[in-house]
C-alpha cells in the first residue's frame, strides 16, 4: 500500500497540524482516501466457509469448531437441520433466502457476526449454498411450506390490549414472565436441541432480540417458532388479527437501550434522602442508563455476562448522597457462600467444562469510585483500579449487607476497608432489582473520597448474577462514567449578567450622545 511516511505523525497531532498545513493535507488526503482493502474477491463458497466460519461451526458443519467451547449459545450444528430464523412452518427447513438474511444480519447478542459489509452479496450466497448443500440433511429435496407474512397493520391501543390477553391465554408468561423479563416459572428448566440449558428471551430489552425487535420480526418469530429451542410456533392457535395484536403487545414491552450518555446528575433536595425506591422524590433525579459487559480483561475471562445494563439516579442533600440503581435479573439469588471452581487453565472460561452446579452465589452490585481525587492524580484503571492507584468499591450482595473495599486490579482480591460508611436497601420484584445506596458526602474516613458539588467524579458499576454462576471476577462491568452533584446557579452568574447588561447599555448611550452632538 502506498503510504506517506509522515502520515502517522500528522494523524497524531492532526487538528493542530491541520489548521496550519491545510494545503499539504489536502494533497495527502488525495493519497490516503483509498478505502480499506477488502478480502480477496473469491466467490468459492467452500474456501470462504473454511476461512470465515469453520473455527466456530466446524469444518464438517457440526458446530464444533475450536472456538465453540467458549461460546454460549453454541454455534449452530448444521447437520441437525434445525434453524431458528425461518419464514417456513414449524419443524421445516428454512428457505435459502432465510439463511442468507440471517447470515447478513448476524445474531445480535451472540457470537454469530453480522456479515453484511464484510462479505459481498455474492460471497454470502456462495457460502450459504456451500453450507446448506454440504451439511444440511434433505436440503433441496423438497419445497418447505412457507408462512406468508402480510403487511403489518397500524398499531393501536386496542391491539395492544388484545395482545395482552393473548399473552396470558397462550401462556407466554410461563417462560417469558409476566413482565416479559425472561423470568417465567419454567424458565430455568428449558434445554435446546443439544440438551444444553437455554433461557427464554428477555422481551423488555429491544437490543437483545436475536432476530430483530420490529413488529414483523416478532410476528415471524412466534408464528414460525424457533426450531431447536423450546420457543413454540403459535401459528395455528390464533388468527392473523390476534397475531398482530400479540406482536404489538410484545413490542410495547420493549425499553430502549442506554443512550451512551456518561453523566449521572445528582439533584439537590433539602429534604431527607428517600429510603424507598417508590418515593416520588426520585422523580426529581434524571435516570441515566449504562451498558455493562463481560469481564474479558483478565483470565479466566467471562463472556456470558448476566447483567448487561443498569439504570441509575442520584439525589443529595446537605449531608448525604443517595443512588438508586435498577437492573434486570430474572431470578433472585440471596444465598451466597457456595464453593467456586478453581480458576481454570486457559484465558477464557471454558463453557464446555464450566460446571453448571457451582454455587450458590448471591446476586450483587458494586459502585466504583477512585480512592483518591485531585489535580495531578491520574484516574485509576476502570476495572477495579491498579496497584498504586486504587479504587473505592461499595459492594452490595443480596446475601448480606453492603461493604466497602479497596480494589487494586482484577488480579488481586479487593481488600475490605476498616469502616463501611455506605448503607443499603434493596428490593426485587418480578425480575428487577432496585437498590438504594446512601453515603455521607464527607465520611472522615481516609479510605473514602469527599464528594463535593460541581466536581466530576469518575463512577463505574459492576454486577453479579448468582444463578448464572457469577462470583469474583466472573462479573459484568461498565466503563468509567461521571457523577456530578448539580450546583444551584451561583449568585455570581446573575451579578455578572447584570453588569454586562448595564455595561453594554451604558456604552450604547455614550456612543449615541457622541454621534448626536
Amino acid at each position: 500500500m502506498n503510504r506517506l511516511p509522515f502520515a502517522p505523525v500528522l494523524r497524531r497531532s492532526l487538528p493542530a497540524a491541520l489548521a496550519g498545513l491545510g494545503l499539504a493535507l489536502v494533497l495527502s488526503a488525495l493519497h490516503s482516501s483509498k478505502s480499506p482493502a477488502s478480502a480477496q474477491p473469491s466467490v468459492d463458497g467452500k474456501s470462504i466457509y473454511l476461512e470465515r466460519c469453520a473455527f466456530c461451526h466446524g469444518e464438517n458443519g457440526d458446530g464444533n469448531g475450536p472456538v465453540a467451547r467458549y461460546l454460549n449459545p453454541r454455534p449452530r450444528n448444521f447437520t441437525l437441520g434445525q434453524f431458528r430464523f425461518r419464514t417456513t412452518a414449524s419443524g421445516e427447513l428454512p428457505l435459502r433466502e432465510d439463511v442468507i438474511t440471517i447470515v447478513k444480519q448476524g445474531v445480535r447478542g451472540t457470537a454469530m457476526p453480522r456479515w453484511e459489509g464484510v462479505l459481498s452479496e455474492a460471497e454470502v450466497e456462495a457460502v450459504v449454498d456451500y453450507l446448506t448443500t454440504s451439511f444440511v440433511p434433505f436440503w433441496g429435496t423438497y419445497d418447505p411450506p412457507v408462512i406468508a407474512i402480510p403487511d403489518p397493520p397500524r398499531v393501536t391501543a386496542g391491539m395492544i390490549e388484545e395482545g395482552a390477553i393473548q399473552f396470558q391465554e397462550l401462556q407466554c408468561w410461563k417462560c417469558h414472565g409476566e413482565q416479559g423479563r425472561g423470568n417465567g416459572s419454567s424458565a430455568l428448566s428449558l434445554t435446546d436441541e443439544t440438551d444444553r440449558p437455554i433461557r427464554p428471551a428477555d422481551l423488555t430489552k429491544a437490543w437483545r432480540y436475536k432476530g430483530g425487535s420490529d413488529l414483523v420480526s416478532i410476528y415471524t418469530r412466534f408464528s414460525t417458532g424457533m426450531d431447536g429451542t423450546p420457543m413454540p410456533s403459535f401459528y395455528d392457535v390464533i388468527d392473523e388479527e390476534q397475531r398482530w395484536a400479540l406482536a404489538a403487545y410484545v413490542r410495547s414491552l420493549q425499553t430502549g437501550e442506554p443512550s451512551g450518555e456518561s453523566v449521572l446528575q445528582a439533584a439537590f433536595t433539602s429534604q431527607d434522602l428517600p429510603t424507598d425506591p417508590d418515593d416520588p422524590l426520585w422523580d426529581q433525579a434524571d435516570p441515566t442508563s449504562y451498558f455493562l459487559t463481560g469481564q474479558v480483561i483478565v483470565g479466566p475471562r467471562w463472556q456470558t455476562p448476566g447483567v448487561d445494563a443498569v439504570t441509575a439516579r442520584a439525589l443529595y442533600n446537605s449531608t448525604n448522597l443517595a443512588l438508586l440503581i435498577e437492573w434486570d435479573d430474572p431470578f433472585q439469588d440471596t444465598q451466597g457462600g457456595g464453593i467456586d471452581v478453581l480458576p481454570q487453565a486457559g484465558t477464557y472460561v471454558d463453557l464446555e467444562t464450566f460446571p453448571q452446579n457451582v454455587g450458590p452465589f448471591a446476586d450483587g452490585l458494586a459502585v466504583q469510585m477512585p480512592a483518591m481525587l485531585g489535580e495531578g492524580v491520574a484516574k485509576p484503571y476502570f476495572a477495579w483500579g491498579q496497584p498504586g492507584n486504587p479504587v473505592n468499591l461499595w459492594v452490595w450482595h443480596a446475601s448480606d449487607q453492603v461493604q466497602e473495599f479497596i480494589g487494586t486490579g482484577l488480579k488481586t482480591e479487593p481488600a475490605a476497608q476498616a469502616n463501611t460508611n455506605v448503607a443499603a436497601g434493596a428490593d426485587w420484584t418480578d425480575g428487577r432489582y432496585r437498590l438504594i445506596l446512601t453515603r455521607p458526602l464527607s465520611t472522615g474516613d481516609p479510605d473514602d473520597i469527599e464528594v463535593k458539588p460541581g466536581q466530576f467524579i469518575p463512577i463505574a458499576f459492576q454486577a453479579w448474577d448468582g444463578s448464572k454462576g457469577e462470583t469474583g471476577t466472573r462479573l459484568s462491568l461498565s466503563s468509567w462514567n461521571n457523577l456530578v452533584l448539580e450546583q444551584p446557579t451561583p449568585i455570581a452568574a446573575y451579578l455578572y449578567a447584570g453588569l454586562a447588561v448595564l455595561g453594554v447599555g451604558a456604552g450604547e448611550w455614550w456612543l449615541y450622545r457622541r454621534v448626536r452632538s
Binding site: 511516511p5 472456538v67 453523566v263 463481560g294 476495572a383 453594554v504
Partner: protein
C-alpha cells in the same frame, strides 16, 4: 455597474467566515482525511490564537488608513444616530427595528455572560493520543514468521486465526472490525483493525507491544485507565502473539507499515 459590499459588512463577513472555518470546516476536513467517524474539533487554545490573529489583522487593516476607518465607522454611526427624518411608513418601521436591536444588544450580552458562568454539566473531555511512541525495547523487533517477501506460511496464519478468534474476537470481532459481542460495553471502543487508522499505520512491532502490554501499559496520553485492551504477556507466548498478529492483519485485509519508513519517523 456592480455595487461593492461596504467595508463594514466585509469586516463582519470575514470574522464570521474565519469562525465557520475553524468550527466546522477544519473539524470536518480532519474527519475526512483521518477517516474518523466524528469531526475533530480544533483545540480551544488554538482557537483563541486564530481568533485573536484575525481580530488583530482586521484592526491593523482598518487603522492603517484614515479613510478606511471612517468608511468602517460610517454605517455604525448612522445606525446609532437613527434616521434624520421620518417620511414614509418604511422609515418608521426601520426606526422601530433600530430600537429593537439597540435594546436587544445589552440583553444578549447579559445572556451570554450568564450562560458562560453556569456550572458545567457535560463531562470533561480529554484529547487521547491513539498511537503514542513505541517503547525503545520493542522498536527493532520483527515478526519471526514473516518471510522476506512479506508473506506468511498459511499454516501459521491458520494457527494465529484460531487464537485470534478465541482470544481477541469477543472485543475486536470475528472480521476484526471492532464489533465483537463484548464491545458494546466499552466507551473506548475496541480498535477496528480494518480501518485505515489502526494497525495499518503501525509496524508489526508496535502491535506486538500493544498486545503484550495492553491498555494499562499505555503512557498517560493514551488514557490507559479507559482501555479494556488486556495485557497478554504471560497468558500468550511471544510466538503465539506473533502468529495472532500475522492473522490479525490478514483477517482485517490490511498490511503493516514497513519498518524502513518507521526508521525515518
Amino acid at each position: 455597474m456592480t455595487r461593492r459590499l461596504s467595508l463594514f459588512w466585509m469586516v463582519i463577513l470575514t470574522v464570521i467566515g474565519v469562525n465557520l472555518l475553524l468550527r466546522l470546516g477544519v473539524p470536518y476536513l480532519s474527519m475526512l482525511i483521518a477517516h474518523r467517524d466524528a469531526p475533530l474539533p480544533v483545540p480551544g487554545a488554538l482557537m483563541v490564537i486564530y481568533q485573536a490573529l484575525t481580530f488583530i489583522g482586521v484592526l491593523v487593516y482598518l487603522a492603517a488608513d484614515e479613510r478606511r476607518l471612517q468608511a468602517f465607522w460610517q454605517p455604525i454611526r448612522s445606525f446609532i444616530r437613527g434616521p434624520q427624518a421620518i417620511r414614509t411608513p418604511l422609515d418608521r418601521a426601520i426606526g422601530y427595528a433600530r430600537w429593537a436591536v439597540l435594546g436587544a444588544l445589552p440583553l444578549l450580552a447579559g445572556w451570554a455572560v450568564y450562560s458562560s458562568s453556569l456550572p458545567a454539566t457535560s463531562a470533561p473531555t480529554s484529547l487521547r493520543i491513539a498511537h503514542p511512541t513505541i517503547p525503545f525495547e520493542y522498536q527493532s523487533l520483527t515478526n519471526p514468521f514473516r518471510n522476506p517477501d512479506g508473506t506468511v506460511d498459511p499454516a501459521v496464519i491458520q494457527e494465529g486465526r484460531v487464537l485470534f478468534q478465541i482470544n481477541c474476537r469477543p472485543c475486536h470481532g470475528t472480521p476484526a472490525n471492532g464489533e465483537g459481542p463484548m464491545a458494546y460495553g466499552f466507551r473506548l471502543r475496541p480498535a477496528n483493525f480494518s480501518s485505515e487508522d489502526t494497525i495499518a499505520t503501525v509496524i508489526e512491532a508496535y502491535a506486538f507491544w500493544r498486545v503484550r502490554e495492553g491498555g494499562i501499559g499505555l503512557p498517560s496520553q493514551g488514557s490507559p485507565w479507559d482501555s479494556a485492551m488486556p495485557a497478554w504477556a504471560g497468558e500468550l507466548s511471544d510466538e503465539q502473539i506473533w502468529k495472532i498478529i500475522a492473522a490479525e492483519y490478514q483477517t482485517a485485509g490490511v498490511e503493516p507499515r514497513r519498518p524502513e519508513s518507521a526508521a525515518s519517523e
